[in-house]
């Protein structure tokens, strides 16, 4: 199972990194930014009627917050999966200790 999972993860990493290598001149702008441009191209008079509640000062801060989101999620998921995969041994030994 481990081997199969490692292959799947490797495939995922390849899928994610090949574009960076193959498309050297692409900017990899977010699709939502492109959609914003597309809306304004279709409807030049459209004015967004609401602004985001906060204005992020820079791309660096945005990266921080996305990393934070990933870290929180990964931390919780890792903790739960860790307990799940270690579960049986701990349950057995704590049952024996009484």
């Amino acid at each position: 199972m481990l081997k199969k999972n490692l292959i799947l993860i490797a495939l995922t990493l390849i899928l994610a990194f090949v574009p960076l290598i193959v498309l050297k001149n692409a900017k990899f702008e977010g699709a939502d930014g492109l959609a914003e441009e597309a809306v304004l191209a279709i409807d030049p008079e459209y004015v967004p009627w609401f602004e985001p509640m906060i204005e992020l000062p820079s791309g660096e801060v945005e990266s921080l917050l996305f990393s934070l989101q990933a870290a929180i999620g990964a931390g919780v998921a890792g903790f739960i999966l860790g307990r799940m995969t270690a579960g049986k041994k701990e349950v057995d030994s704590s049952a024996r200790k009484g």
Binding site: D32, W49, F66, A77
Partner: protein, 246 residues
């Protein structure tokens, strides 16, 4: 299956949504703040409302059955948190986020994912200026409702066809992810037709969102298969109790 209170709440919120929608005149990333005109923003919010209500009761009911489900739901939520935070480059030259809700939809059903979805969306709208509060309803519908629904239904179909679980998980998650972005493209096209023509806009938005999403949907499918296989190995009782595996 649902308690009487839950049923009444679901019916009432559906009715309210339908009544208000009937009264209103009609014209991939998540839709950005302010980019859906107020009526559309409100409309999608109303459509999503009954699903959110159903999702709340669905989670409540499943957690009441077993405390272990709460942990598993938390894990699905955490998985969605991680997946949707990753901006991954695509072969089209742009980048986008996976949704991360497919796995949870397979395990806990689509309505539970509406709640998980709105939590992720609120986090991103508040802290990251990604997505938006006015577009919350639309984004919940695409990411928390339509996508998970497709994931769930495809998985059920695969289960009926006795397809191997890893293949089933992959196809379900892939389809759900694609559906989310197809719906997003549709929502934008409906709100911003090109000279009155929705189809032209739809093709344009599909090109931006859906095409970019294909490699990402594959990636999300692969990662979901990995996580699912771990769950299958170490928590098969829960999966069997949830009727996910035989």
């Amino acid at each position: 299956m649902y308690t009487k209170t839950a049923k009444i709440a679901i019916v009432l919120s559906s009715a309210a949504a339908l009544v208000l929608l009937a009264a209103a005149p009609s014209g991939a990333m998540h839709i950005m703040e302010g980019f859906l005109p107020p009526l559309w923003a409100l409309g999608w919010g109303l459509i999503s409302l009954p699903f959110l209500v159903a999702g709340y009761f669905s989670i409540k009911r499943q957690v009441e059955v077993s405390h272990k489900y709460l942990v598993l739901i938390a894990m699905c939520g955490a998985f969605a948190f991680v997946m949707s935070s990753l901006k991954i480059p695509s072969l089209t030259g742009s980048s986008s986020h996976p949704t991360g809700v497919g796995l949870g939809a397979i395990l806990f059903g689509p309505s539970a994912m509406a709640i998980i979805g709105i939590i992720v969306l609120l986090f991103q709208a508040f802290f990251l200026a990604h997505g938006g509060l006015t577009t919350l309803g639309a984004n919940v519908f695409s990411m928390g409702i339509a996508g998970p629904m497709v994931s769930f239904l495809v998985y059920q179909l695969m289960k009926q066809l006795k397809v191997k679980s890893s293949t089933a998980v992959f196809l379900s998650v892939f389809s759900g992810n694609m559906m989310t972005y197809i719906v997003t493209a549709t929502q934008l096209a409906l709100a911003h037709p090109t000279n009155g023509d929705v189809m032209t806009s739809l093709i344009k938005f599909l090109g931006i969102f859906a095409l970019t999403q294909i490699p990402l949907a594959i990636s999300e499918g692969l990662v979901s298969v990995v996580v699912f296989s771990v769950l299958e190995k170490y928590n098969s009782e829960a999966l069997k109790a949830l009727k996910v595996i035989a």
